[in-house]
């Protein structure tokens, strides 16, 4: 499958998962991502895998827990309301150190919200959302091609760190069609899953998810997880830099918003504006050093999001108050236009 084909975002994720060796998928339908389920209900049985429509997102994430504990590559997907229901299971997955891939094609919230694209689940994905001191690895694709490469990468990182990985897309990326090439996932070899629960089979038994009632022991568990998150921060940061390498204003945006910001950079150039763009590809780990460096160089930052200001907090933490950080956002499923952003840019630079 090395040739270019036209494919819808949701289906691209599903096919990429199969190519990455995903053996099981558990999910519950919700717009705008149901095509992932529909595609896999057909495709997974063809490759000897399992598709199961669960009775709820709560059940789905726990089925993921069981399959992951068995050592399989497994995925679930949903959108806002369903991802909220999965938070309990996500918290349990992180402490049991069970790898899996969770896709959130997010939509307008809060509550039932609507089915238009949105980025208002950033806090939920990056800062927790479930209980306890945990982190997900969060990947933010911005094209259908990247949905494929980041789905491949998500399975790799999940296994490498024994941690759930969330792909945070939005309804726009899920629904749009773009030409894509399916390249073979190629990653360094991973350690064998000798922790997986497969029955004793004559060996000493294994337990996943032990009780840790003593405070000191639980602190140890948390510290071990914390060291893992620090290692992820050190090793796995991904971002795209676009536009002027010596900008007068640094733009920061992820996913769908970054696509619009590229237009802003190009249009700005025509008007003689030197604009740079950083598009974080990993939201955790966040590209804080690179943002800090370019922000200091530019002297001003504008963050644009499809929410009322979430990632902007991480940008502010990255620059530690040394550089003014402006924000522009639309929410509820509204998509910011390049023209409005550009006029905001002109205001800031002048």
């Amino acid at each position: 499958m090395e040739k270019k084909i036209l494919m819808k975002g949701n289906e691209a994720i599903a096919e990429a998962a199969v190519q990455a060796g995903c053996q099981l998928y558990f999910g519950y339908p919700i717009t705008p991502q149901t095509e992932i389920s529909e595609y896999l209900s057909q495709r997974l049985p063809e490759v000897g895998g399992v598709f199961l429509q669960a009775e709820s997102e709560v059940a789905a994430i726990n089925m993921v827990y069981g399959a992951s504990a068995s050592g399989a590559r497994v995925m679930t997907s949903s959108s806002g309301p369903g991802i909220s229901l999965k938070q309990e299971g996500i918290s349990y997955l992180t402490v049991a150190e069970l790898p899996c891939v969770i896709v959130n094609m997010s939509r307008g919230g809060p509550g039932l919200g609507n089915i238009q694209p949105s980025q208002s689940d950033y806090f939920q994905a990056v800062k927790g959302g479930g209980h306890g001191d945990y982190k997900l690895i969060v990947l933010a694709p911005s094209s259908v091609q990247e949905l494929i490469t980041l789905t491949h990468r998500a399975f790799y990182l999940a296994d490498k760190y024994r941690n759930p990985v969330e792909i945070l897309g939005d309804g726009m990326l899920g629904q749009m069609m773009e030409p894509v090439v399916f390249t073979k996932p190629q990653f360094p070899p991973l350690p064998s899953k000798d922790w997986a629960i497969k029955g004793k089979n004559g060996r000493e038994r294994k337990v996943v998810g032990r009780l840790t009632l003593e405070a000191q022991a639980l602190e140890e568990v948390n510290l071990r997880l914390h060291r893992k998150y620090q290692e992820i921060q050190k090793n796995e940061v991904l971002f795209e830099a676009f536009g002027s390498p010596e900008p007068d204003l640094l733009l920061v945006g992820f996913g769908t918003t970054a696509r619009i910001l590229k237009t802003v950079v190009r249009e700005g150039e025509k008007k003689g504006l030197k604009l740079g763009l950083i598009r974080p590809i990993t939201l955790f780990p966040f590209p804080r050093d690179e943002i800090n460096r370019l922000a200091n160089q530019a002297g001003k930052v504008l963050v644009v999001e499809m929410n009322l200001g979430q990632m902007v907090e991480d940008v502010r933490l990255s620059v530690e108050g040394r550089v003014p950080v402006f924000f522009y956002g639309r929410t509820g499923g509204m998509i910011p236009t390049a023209e409005t952003i550009l006029s905001r840019v002109e205001q800031i630079v002048s």
Partner: protein, 250 residues
């Protein structure tokens, strides 16, 4: 000399930590005996709940996956769908299986999921200190029904086996108690039948085990056994509730 009584191989050599008169330990011992008799200890995977039942993994020498309150049937589904050659069981209390986890158990049964569930019904939330459970019987006093359960504000005690018997996928459902040797033998037969139902691929199986919680019932072990026989069994009649022959998914 013939050995007539010994510790099951599958029971880890350490004293139970349950309260005196609690039947969690007894139930776990019987499950261990059946696992030994079926010779399945090497391919059995237990799934733990949250509640006093959670300690099962510290006593049964099989692989275990522990997860969130009430979700064991979904976790067990994930394991069984990945490893259909394994014997997968959940062990859950009444709060776990009949309150917070009702949806998970109902749909596992309805799918005819090839797992077995052992359900310890002690009519209270034991671990959290004796609050009202869905299975608390009428007039029973708990810390959250201090004047006794009454249907107008608390609803009725839930008969889970009877509910699950309406599911096509339930192949074997049985309710047992462990208050005398005869009942213990019946319970053991039921537990074996449940696991055989799974091994033969016939559908979902569940054994409900009525069990005293002397600590939270505020009774001595003997009083608790007497109360269970006199008050619980009439509302939760013992016996097989559903037995389906043949292979469900054939």
């Amino acid at each position: 000399m013939a050995v007539v009584f010994e510790r099951p191989k599958t029971l880890i050599k350490k004293p139970f930590t349950y309260c005196p008169g609690c039947h969690h330990g007894l139930a776990q011992r019987i499950i261990a005996e059946v696992i030994d008799e079926l010779g399945i200890e090497n391919k059995t995977i237990g799934v733990g709940p949250v509640g006093c039942s959670v300690y099962i993994y510290q006593f049964l020498d099989t692989d275990f996956v522990m997860g969130a309150h009430g979700r064991a049937p979904a976790i067990a589904t994930g394991i069984k769908r990945t490893q259909p050659d394994k014997i997968v069981f959940s062990y859950q209390g009444d709060g776990d299986i009949a309150a917070i986890g009702t949806a998970e158990i109902l749909h596992a049964a309805n799918r005819g999921e090839l797992i077995s569930s052992f359900f310890i019904n002690n009519a209270v939330f034991g671990m959290t200190g004796g609050q009202m459970a869905p299975t608390t019987i009428l007039k029973q006093k708990t810390t959250t029904s201090p004047k006794g359960r009454e249907p107008k504000s608390h609803g009725f005690p839930l008969q889970l086996c009877e509910v699950l018997s309406a599911c096509q996928g339930s192949a074997y459902l049985s309710r047992v108690a462990l208050t005398n040797p005869k009942l213990i033998n019946q319970a053991k037969r039921s537990i074996k039948k449940a696991l055989l139902t799974q091994i033969e691929g016939r559908g979902f199986s569940l054994v409900e085990i009525l069990s005293p919680c002397p600590t939270n019932w505020g009774m001595s072990p003997q009083e608790a056994v007497d109360w269970l026989e006199k008050e619980m069994i009439p509302y939760y009649p013992l016996g097989e509730i559903a037995v389906k022959e043949g292979i469900l998914h054939a």
